[in-house]
């Protein structure tokens, strides 16, 4: 199969989205969406084999998009190991999530619409992954944003869901603004937006100009990183991600584990040469490290099963950024992204299954004893949890080790931060598992196991979560361009110690506790309240608006005061003259006359707003006339 078929990967889900948008029957829509996704997966796998064999970069240019003079923007796609892996991962995880959704959403009256949004999302994500053009990438990026808005707010009759959708859309938009500025800068500096173009692409010939006294590459990469921060939920724009858990659970899995949040990390990896050239990598690493640490701490204090996973996602995304920011290539971060996509999707889908089995209960304090009631789900979930903790020889272990090694080599402080994060990760995962699976059930209704359509994807994902790292890790790293590195004993030891130690600590703290009644020793109020980030924004950004409004009001008051003063002065003068000069003259000249003239002027101005069509048309014609006269006689 030639690389031209690459375009089918995003186009098939797009077609499915178009087909399903008018459907009423949820089952048929699900069949269409799943069929399209399976085809995409098949093509993506063929392309992966192709890329594996070829190794380098292959580009496909489908059509011209915008041609302005010498500059040309194309619909062009890109096949290299990075994009092929991402495409295969997105289609594979996506397909499993689609299948899961067909069971999870089957009772929802708007099921067909749900699959339409899901397909649109997948199309956008695949376009993003395969784009060989920053503008095309940005367009897909925005499609993903819109689709995620629709999906998060899918149950828009819940006010929280509607608000969460808006929040996700607006907060990521802040980052996207930076992304767009970065794109425009890149276009002005490099004259092209193609990433690879036979030696002339943006990543092959990195712009060397200087803008505002800063190197172009540095500035562009900084702005692109803004987009990545927004999309991947890094500090300080992470606040939307946990709120987005209001959406249906498969959405959480699709958007917030496997694909959308990975888009930011992917963007950094994609445009990695710019970051290297601009020397922005340390910033990336530190933003990632701090995010990882703070989010892991917050996860300790949460009680909603999905929110814990959400914060854990933010934390793991931070680790990916660390992996990107400390290594010489994008391989380490991307490796963690791949393994994370599988085990986090597994965790989310498992959480969905648990929530389903517990009659839509999300609070872990009212769970417990799930292990006996839902054995398959529990087993799969524990596989995912072990991978998240980086238990030795699971996939998470290999990828997180790679990140730790790379951090160890680059910046020792960062390494300590990451190790601490790993310890906390193990702690909160253990806490969650103890709460959910062990002991007696504390909810009202007895939990029950989910049907096979929900558990089958879990089992498949569990296999990947355990095996992917060990089986494919080294070749994946090699293909993505990682340099072979030493495995310092200190890192290995730390990694084992924090994973096992954290789990042990968690067990000691939580296992014997009477979970339903006593308070949680680690759920400090600062953690439970997410370090007051939302409050902080309300207090800063919100206050800023209030302050600005106040300022405007004060200015208005001031102006009114000045006017009042003027009026008083004029009146005083008028009265003064009225005694000495002829009253009528003064009145005519200053007070009444002036007022009347203003009144007349007002009437004239009102006259323009006749509300009559021909009146407005005449003004338009007059404008056209003015332009014509200007062009003909006054130009030059």
């Amino acid at each position: 199969m030639s690389t031209e078929k690459l375009a089918l990967i995003p186009l098939l889900p797009l077609l499915a989205a178009v087909l399903t948008c008018g459907m009423r029957c949820g089952r048929r829509a699900a069949a269409v969406a799943i069929g399209a996704m399976s085809l995409s997966l098949a093509i993506a796998l063929v392309m992966l084999a192709n890329a594996w064999a070829h190794g380098g970069v292959q580009t496909v240019s489908l059509a011209d998009w915008l041609v302005v003079g010498a500059a040309k923007i194309q619909f062009s796609l890109l096949l290299d190991p990075l994009s092929a892996c991402m495409a295969a991962m997105v289609t594979f995880v996506g397909l499993l999530i689609f299948i899961y959704s067909s069971g999870y959403m089957k009772d929802d009256p708007r099921c067909a619409r749900f699959f339409c949004y899901l397909s649109l999302f997948a199309a956008g994500m695949l376009g993003l992954v395969l784009a060989n053009n920053l503008l095309l990438l940005f367009m897909s990026w925005e499609i993903v944003g819109v689709a995620s808005y629709l999906l998060i707010g899918f149950w828009f009759h819940k006010p929280a869901a509607a608000a969460a959708g808006k929040k996700a859309f607006i907060v990521t938009r802040i980052g996207d603004m930076g992304f767009l500025i970065g794109i425009l800068l890149a276009f002005t500096q490099a004259g092209t937006l193609e990433l690879f173009d036979n030696g002339n692409g943006l990543l092959e010939k990195i712009p060397t100009g200087v803008v505002w006294g800063i190197g172009a590459a540095k500035l562009i990469s900084l702005f692109l990183f803004c987009g990545a921060i927004g999309k991947s939920g890094q500090l300080p724009l992470h606040v939307w991600l946990p709120d987005a858990m209001e959406g249906p659970t498969p959405v959480s899995a699709l958007i917030h584990a496997a694909t959308m949040v990975a888009a930011g990390v992917f963007l950094v990896a994609r445009t990695f040469p710019l970051f290297v050239e601009g020397q922005t990598l340390p910033l990336v690493a530190w933003v990632g490290g701090l995010t990882a640490f703070v989010a892991a701490l917050i996860a300790l204090g949460q009680y909603d099963i999905k929110r814990i996973l959400a914060y854990s996602t933010v934390s793991q995304l931070g680790l990916m950024m660390v992996g990107l920011g400390t290594a010489a290539t994008g391989a380490v971060g991307m490796f963690h992204l791949f393994t994370h996509a599988f085990f986090k999707a597994l965790l989310f889908l498992g959480a969905g299954s648990i929530i389903h089995g517990c009659h839509e209960e999300q609070d872990i304090r009212r769970m417990g004893g799930i292990a006996r009631a839902m054995p398959i789900t529990t087993a799969a979930y524990l596989c995912g949890a072990l991978a998240l903790v980086a238990f030795p020889f699971t996939s998470g272990y290999f990828s997180k080790d790679a990140v730790l090694i790379s951090a160890y080599g680059a910046d020792r402080n960062l390494f300590y931060l990451c190790a601490l994060t790993s310890l906390i990760t193990a702690l909160y995962v253990t806490r969650q598992c103890v709460y959910v699976f062990i002991g007696t059930h504390r909810g009202a209704q007895a939990p029950h196991e989910s049907p096979p359509v929900l558990t089958a994807p879990l089992v498949i994902l569990a296999a990947f979560a355990l095996g992917l790292g060990g089986l494919a890790g080294n070749s994946l790293l090699a293909k993505l361009g990682a340099k072979h590195s030493e495995h310092p004993f200190a890192v290995i030891a730390t990694s084992w110690a924090v994973a096992l130690g954290g789990m042990l600590l968690g067990w000691v703290i939580y296992a014997r506790r009477d979970l339903g009644r006593t308070t949680d020793p680690l759920a400090l109020s600062a953690l439970a309240n997410k370090f007051y980030f939302d409050e902080l924004y309300a207090a800063t950004v919100g206050r800023l608006w209030t302050a600005l409004t106040w300022l405007v009001v004060m200015l208005q008051e001031l102006l009114a005061g000045v006017c009042e003063l003027g009026v008083q002065l004029t009146q005083a003068t008028g009265q003064f003259f009225a005694r000495s000069v002829d009253v009528r003259l003064i009145d005519e000249l200053t007070m009444d006359g002036l007022a009347r003239r203003f009144h007349k002027g007002g009437e004239v101005a009102t006259g323009f707003q006749t509300g009559l069509l021909s009146g407005y048309l005449r003004w338009i014609a007059l404008g056209a006339l003015a332009v014509g006269v200007f062009v003909h006689w006054l130009w030059k």
């Binding site: 006749t610 509300g611 009559l612 069509l613 021909s614 048309l617």
Partner: protein, 106 residues
């Protein structure tokens, strides 16, 4: 008298444009305003065709293509416009533009 030149057609088209504008500016009946808009469209089409006929590349057929598309769009515009006129008439019981001044804030 010399042969017909581009200017002949352009001047004719400008005159027709003027007549169309006159109708748009001075008449108050929506239907007549639509007539006038049709006249404006036709004046523009005459320009397209004339420029094509006297231009450098008559074999490229840009003029007729453009005119055809303009005619089609104008047809769509008339259909919707007249439907709007009927809807407006049903609502306000008039097609007099001077009485349709709800754009103005009272």
């Amino acid at each position: 008298m010399s042969n017909l030149t581009l200017e002949h057609y352009l001047i004719l088209s400008a005159v027709l444009l003027g007549i169309g504008l006159l109708g748009v500016f001075t008449r108050r009946n929506v239907i007549v305003v639509l007539f006038s808009i049709e006249i404006l469209f036709n004046a523009a089409n005459l320009n397209f065709i004339a420029f094509w006929r006297f231009g450098d590349q008559p074999e490229a057929l840009m003029g007729p293509i453009f005119a055809l598309f303009a005619i089609a769009v104008a047809a769509a515009e008339v259909a919707v416009g007249l439907a709007l006129v009927i809807a407006v008439y049903r609502h306000f019981k008039t097609v007099d533009l001077e009485k349709l001044d709800t754009l103005k804030e009272e």
